[in-house]
Symmetry: C2
Subunit: 345 residues, 2 copies
């Protein structure tokens, strides 16, 4: 029998069909700096000028993909990917400019692709980020049926004298926290392992457990709580920047508190965090209880209800808290000599 | 039993170990525009100025990953990813600035990671591209044992008045071709299907067939021929740009000739290609014979020995050919009314 690429499992027409379904939504992400059309070998974007710094970041969404697939909620991971990238660039002080995505699967389902990439486009449009390009890879045999992987790339820009980072942080700076909506996009492998074991111990299916509405989750199901979209903090960042001297920002992602907060601090300084400043949301304590996860391990894995920690000049603390209605005064920057750099008091 | 993230299969220490193995090689990719260190939430790069255009591209390497894994040749896919991205940005006229990678697997093997990402770093250093950041995702259960996926993201820059593209191309422009080294990073699923069937029909293993040295492949094995690195055309591009009026460039990747050459041509124009201008390398004819692939399908899937097609002013053809010793005069740009836009004569 003679072979074609299509017979071998790769159908370029299917990729074209998938893209056609989201073309209008992609178009809505266009900004004035974008030059030419999608479909060129590279996306073109007018450079913001030599007095600025480009900030580039790449992210995935981890095994939240698995939960989204099980519950047929593909949109959320598209939104998550864009928000995660926006927050990372913003942590350096940058406004986002453009985004590109990589979508990889074994057998491209145009309907699923359109839901994921359509949600990315909508998230980009909402935050005025140009969706400048993407790569769709169809790799038979690489992924289990129905599964796919995503990577996002974002470039932002910040004036050279406004780059945020550890070098701006001083002892005594105030640390304020802004709530997360849930796990965001980190620690899902641990959460899924815990829930799969809990389901097995009750001889229920994993899906059945995910679908259980719980009073202690405000009558949401565990699945809904797990699939809350990663919060984008761009509006809050802009409000803060206008009202306070922002020094550095930590986006609490993989590695939790100790894995991320020190990335915003210079050598010799640490963070003193008041554990009573906020209530850890029930989703986190529920997972920790079910999995008998030590509390230190939980803080090293999950954001525990705080998605962003911002170091600001201590004198601007009240202004900052007034600018962000749901922010918490978490603590302050202190000297650090040895051991963990985030100390909970 | 109490659970930790590590017990659930995600070991952040392993990712740190993996990165530590390539840190020195990453450092060698540094350029003067890079600000600060790796490990920030976003990589910082001084913007090239408002008179330039940023060119962004994202790529993967497809199921060449499978062949590299089977033959324990992980370096090649790292090199490929960087070269593929460089060529795509260059197709718009851009010099590369910086690169980021996404490495995704179920269980991170630091040794394999170091070979892949180390090769990326070396390819970046060789072409003066800053490796500005990356994401390493460990997602238990997502990938088969030993497999991983890669995505690359590159940003380049070109002076605003030197962007290449279809709008520069005129009827009568000369088309010159520069050889590929093999399949580059496209059409591996078809190649693997063909070879797996051929092996099965001879009751041999796929690996055994890949390891067969063949006289008609210059005594290379089929595996070696399949794993030739994707050629980067940056030096040739620079030489051409200095000696000829380059109008547009097509990088022949997924979709082969008809899928890529028209991307460099304006509406109403097509390409007339002299099939006798170059000899299709034996690897392609061998695969086509074994798989009984129709020749039109082969040209729609593989590059057939030409990795880059450049449209230049007809008067500069001889200069261009003199600048690139191994280039071929392939044909010319002609009017196009209907049907396929690449016509082989």
């Amino acid at each position: 029998m003679s072979l074609t690429y299509k017979a071998a499992g790769v159908d370029i027409g299917r990729a074209d069909d998938a893209l056609a379904r989201v073309r209008e939504r992609l178009r809505k992400t266009r900004r004035p700096e974008v030059i030419g059309d999608i479909g060129q070998f590279g996306g073109l974007f007018a450079s913001p000028g030599a007095d600025t710094v480009l900030v580039a970041t790449t992210d995935g969404v981890g095994t939240k993909l698995e939960v989204a697939r099980l519950l047929d909620r593909h949109e959320v991971v598209g939104t998550d990917l864009v928000h995660h990238c926006i927050n990372d660039a913003m942590a350096m002080g940058a406004e986002p400019l453009f985004f590109l995505d990589y979508f990889s699967t074994s057998h491209l389902e145009p309907a699923v692709f359109a839901r994921v990439v359509g949600a990315m486009a909508d998230a980009c449009a909402r935050h005025r980020v140009a969706l400048l390009g993407g790569e769709t890879a169809e790799m038979p045999g690489m992924y289990a049926p129905g599964t796919y992987d995503l990577a996002g790339f974002l470039v932002g820009a910040v004036a050279r004298d406004r780059v945020l980072g550890p070098e701006r942080v001083r002892e005594g700076d105030a640390l304020i926290g802004i709530p997360s909506t849930g796990l965001h996009t980190n620690g899902y492998t641990l959460a899924r392992t815990i829930l799969a074991r809990a389901a097995a111990s009750e001889t229920r299916s994993f899906e059945d457990l995910l679908g259980e509405a719980r009073r202690d989750l405000d009558d949401r199901t565990i699945g809904d709580a797990l699939l809350a979209p990663h919060r984008a903090y761009l509006d809050e960042f802009r409000a803060l920047r206008d009202r306070a001297r922002v020094h550095a920002i930590a986006h609490l992602t993989g590695g939790g508190w100790e894995g991320n907060l020190p990335r915003a601090l210079p050598d010799g300084l640490g963070a003193e965090i008041d554990r009573g400043a906020w209530d850890v949301p029930r989703l986190f304590t529920l997972l920790a209880e079910l999995g008998r996860v030590a509390i230190a391990d939980a803080f090293d894995t999950w954001n525990m209800g705080i998605g962003l920690v911002v170091a600001i000049d201590a004198d601007d603390r009240d202004n900052a808290l007034a600018a962000i209605p749901d922010a918490y005064a978490l603590g302050r920057v202190v000297t650090h000599t040895f051991g963990r750099r985030v100390r909970f008091v």
